[in-house]
Structures are given as C-alpha cells and as structure tokens.
C-alpha cells in the first residue's frame, strides 16, 4: 500500500460510559462486514466490560451490554475468539472469564483460575483451540479449549523474571509470544504434540531488544514481522523467515530489523499493525502516532517513517489502539480519561476514505 500525500485521523465518535480508565479494546471478528454491524468490546478499571455495536442506520456506536458483577477488580484485557462466539476477559482479580452471547445477553460461562495474582492479558490462537494468559506472577498459562466451554490448563510456562504484560499468538502458527516488565520478549513453541511447551527464543538487550518494560506487540498481516513497544520510548520491528518456520523445522529465529526512536517521549502502552500495513501507537503523552514502511528504502532492510501524529488524541494516556480488521482506516483508541474514540484515517485533499 502506498501512503503518499497527507493524511489525517478524523475523530468520528467518542464513546462514554465507563467510570474509570479504559485499558483495552477488541474488535469482534467478522463484524463490520457483509451487513453485520461492527462490534467493539472494551474493558476498564471500573471492573466491567462494555460491548458497543454500530447502528446500521446512523453509523454511530451504542453500548449494547455491560458485563458486570463478575470481575471484582480491574478488567485489564479482553479478546474475542476467532469465531466471535466467545469473549475472554482477564482481570486483576486473578481470574479470566469466558463470556458467551446467549439470546441477547452475555453470560459468563466459565472462569479460569490458577494465576497467583493479577492476570494482565488473554489471547486466542488462530484456530480458537488454545487460549493463553499471563500475569504478575511471571507465568504464562496455556489452556486447551474443549467442548461445552471447558478449559483445561495444558502448560504453565516459567521463564520471565518479572511480571508478564502481554501474550499474543502468532496469526497463523501455534507459536506464543510474551512481553514483560523484565524488558524481554519470549517466544514459546510446542515440542511435538505432547503439550511440552518451552521457550524457543528470548529477545532482550543482548540481541537489540528493549531496555525497559515491553508493554505490547503486534504482527503484520503476513505474520513475518512484528512490532513491539516499550517504556524505553522506542518501537522495534522484528522479522523472521516465515517459510522456514512453517516447514516443520519451526526453528526460524526472530531478528531485530529496525528501532524507531526519537518519536515518543513517554511510555508507549499499545501498538497495533493494520492489515494494510499501518502501525498505530498509543502513548502516555495522550497522542496516537501512525507509522508506515518507507518504500524508497535504499538501505538494507526496511525502514519506517511517521505518517502522522495526533496530539491530544485523548485528555489523558492512550492505553490501547486497535485497527478494525474489517474496515480499512478505522481505528479505536482507549484512554485513562474513561473514553473510547473511533477514528477514520482520511487522505487529504479530497477527504476520501482509503481505498479498500
């Protein structure tokens, strides 16, 4: 995708309702396309999860459900299963709840316990057969999804030396990535098919890794690159030889490709790579930044440039930025100010939407 010319992030709507900071957002898969209204889940320090649905008539999002009276502390992360049938929510109350949309209402159908303290993130694998959680107890848990909304813990992964802030499955392979307060990113894979999960690689300072807490990571649509963001004020781009990884050997290392520094002056909490190649970042300076690959690269390896910076995107820290997987150019952001904002990336002049 060629991003020549000027762009702006246009604020389309402000979603209010949460009574505390909003930590995370998740677009429901397969919504916002084929006549199905777009759906967004948000989770908050107010201990609830809200489901927002876009009205086909007006185009604006309304709160359709408030998932409350389940978590007893901050809900830190939410993730839809790939089919969109289930929503997993991770909480500081040390549990992960699984919700199902049953006849107009969301019902908590399962509660995953095991972490010793705050659960910070939950992630589904590409097929929806596995779930991963992580938390302040420094561990990463892998759960198998069984019929009847049963979840069996298949592995408890130790290795990080400090709390684990995020876990994310690779978009096409059952390889798990975790990022931590210990400044490192760890990659976990299964040895054979016998639930023997172990750390296959650690990306830390010794291989051009981050020098402070790593808050988030995101893959590009091909799954051969990932971007990570950190308290060290940088974004790092990593790449792997995907063909090698897929050909059974599975042992293709991830290598540092590029560091984006000098763009952020406060902690970067969230990063998300859109399917058309735009990297969005949300940071503690209330701004949203967009980056794209520099196509006239005359140097070895990819370089990235700032496409635009949205100052004061929110009144307080931006905790989460998420591109819609269905509609190009649509971005949602969540903030300490308790609001969620829906944005549209438009190109100037002409104010046309990006071509699909």
């Amino acid at each position: 995708m060629n991003f020549a010319g000027d762009f702006d992030l246009k604020e389309k709507q402000i979603l209010e309702g949460h009574t505390d900071r909003v930590w995370n957002l998740a677009w429901k898969p397969a919504s916002g396309v084929d006549g199905i209204p777009a759906v967004l889940a948000s989770c908050s320090g107010d201990k609830t999860v809200r489901i927002w649905e876009q009205s086909p008539a007006t185009g604006s999002f309304q709160c359709k459900a408030v998932l409350d009276e389940t978590h007893t502390r901050t809900v830190r992360s939410c993730a839809w299963s790939p089919s969109g049938k289930l929503l997993a929510t991770a909480s500081f109350d040390a549990t992960t709840a699984i919700w199902e949309h049953v006849g107009g209402d969301y019902e908590c159908v399962s509660t995953l316990e095991g972490h010793e303290n705050e659960v910070k993130c939950v992630s589904w694998n590409a097929s929806g057969s596995l779930l991963a959680t992580c938390g302040r107890d420094k561990s990463v848990w892998i759960w198998e999804v069984l019929p009847g909304n049963e979840f069996d813990c298949v592995s408890v992964l130790q290795g990080h030396t400090q709390d684990v802030k995020m876990v994310q499955w690779h978009p096409s392979m059952d390889i798990l990535f975790s990022c931590s307060y210990d400044n490192s990113i760890k990659i976990w894979a299964e040895d054979g098919d016998n639930d023997d999960w172990h750390c296959v690689q650690t990306l830390d300072e010794s291989n051009s890794g981050h020098t402070s807490s790593v808050w988030a990571l995101s893959f590009n649509s091909d799954g051969d690159k990932m971007v990570t963001c950190s308290d060290d004020l940088t974004l790092k781009i990593w790449g792997a030889d995907i063909m090698n990884m897929q050909s059974g050997d599975g042992n293709a290392p991830w290598l540092h490709l590029c560091t984006l520094s000098g763009y952020h002056d406060r902690t970067i909490f969230s990063v998300h790579w859109s399917r058309d190649g735009i990297i969005a970042s949300g940071a503690a300076d209330d701004a949203i930044r967009l980056f794209v690959e520099n196509k006239d690269g005359l140097v070895d390896g990819p370089t990235y440039q700032l496409l635009l910076k949205k100052d004061k995107a929110h009144n307080m820290d931006v905790n989460s930025v998420k591109w819609s997987s269905m509609e190009n150019g649509r971005l949602a952001s969540a903030s300490d100010d308790g609001t969620i904002k829906i944005w549209e990336l438009v190109s100037l002049p002409g104010h046309d939407k990006l071509p699909l």
Binding site: R136, Y181, A284, M316
Partner: protein, 140 residues
C-alpha cells in the same frame, strides 16, 4: 502563605509558585513509619520538585530516610496518589528516589512509574489503608 507572598511570587517568579503549590500538597504527608511529615523528615524539600506547566509535567524526587528503606515504594505511592488527587488531570507525574539514596533505586523507580503496577497496588486494601493513613490530615 498570604496573598502578598503569592502576588510577589506571581510577579517575580511564577515557577516558584508552581513548585510551592506542589509542595503545599505533599509536605504534610506522613511518613509510614515515623510520626513526622515527609517535609519534617526532609524526605521532601522544595528543591525536590520540578514543574513544567507548559508540558503539564511534574517530577518529584524524594530522599528516603535510610538507604535500605523498605517503605520507599509506599512513600512514592503516597506522593503519586496525593498529586493525582490535587493536580489537574492533564498533569503527568514522575516520582523517583534521589539518585544514590537507595540501595535498589532503579527497581523502586521502575515500580513507582509503572502505571499498571501502581493501579494494581491501589486495589490492594491493605496498601490503600496505609496510603490513606499517610494522607490523612493530622490536627495538631
């Protein structure tokens, strides 16, 4: 502080006014272990406060009473909570221990400035009680 002093500082040294305002909010925070305020124990001084109003940024550098002070994170938490309550929401607050004054300085600073760790700590009722105790006004 009377109005004359305020007017004087506004005319002469606006930065001083910002600093004194911040100091005013935090000077009476009680030390978690000793029956004295942070200012009385010189954990906090006027020099320890930096304000950049244009960028809505405050940094407070505190000096624990002893190098192995186990209450350093509690003191830091008290400072953060008080300032969040008193300053306009646009303000970014950084808290750190004075360089060279604590045995695990880097670890303490990292915890105090990790928003997620702070949020989780403030959901711990025991810790909240401790912080509230330190922040409660004492009427001599």
């Amino acid at each position: 502080m009377n109005l004359f002093e305020v007017a004087h500082f506004v005319r002469e040294k606006p930065m001083k006014l910002y600093i004194l305002t911040v100091l005013h909010h935090i000077r009476d925070i009680k030390d978690p272990e000793h029956p004295y305020s942070l200012e009385e124990l010189k954990v906090i001084t006027e020099d320890a406060i930096e304000v950049d109003d244009n960028n809505s940024h405050v940094r407070v550098t505190f000096t624990p009473t002893v190098e192995h002070c186990s209450m350093a994170t509690v003191i830091g938490l008290c400072l953060r909570v008080k300032l969040i309550r008193c300053l306009p929401p646009r303000y970014k607050v950084d808290i750190r221990v004075a360089p060279g004054t604590h045995a695990t300085e880097a670890a303490v600073n990292k915890q105090l400035n990790d928003k997620e760790r702070v949020a989780a700590a403030l959901e711990n009722p025991n810790l909240v009680d401790m912080v509230d105790e330190c922040l409660a006004p004492s009427y001599a």
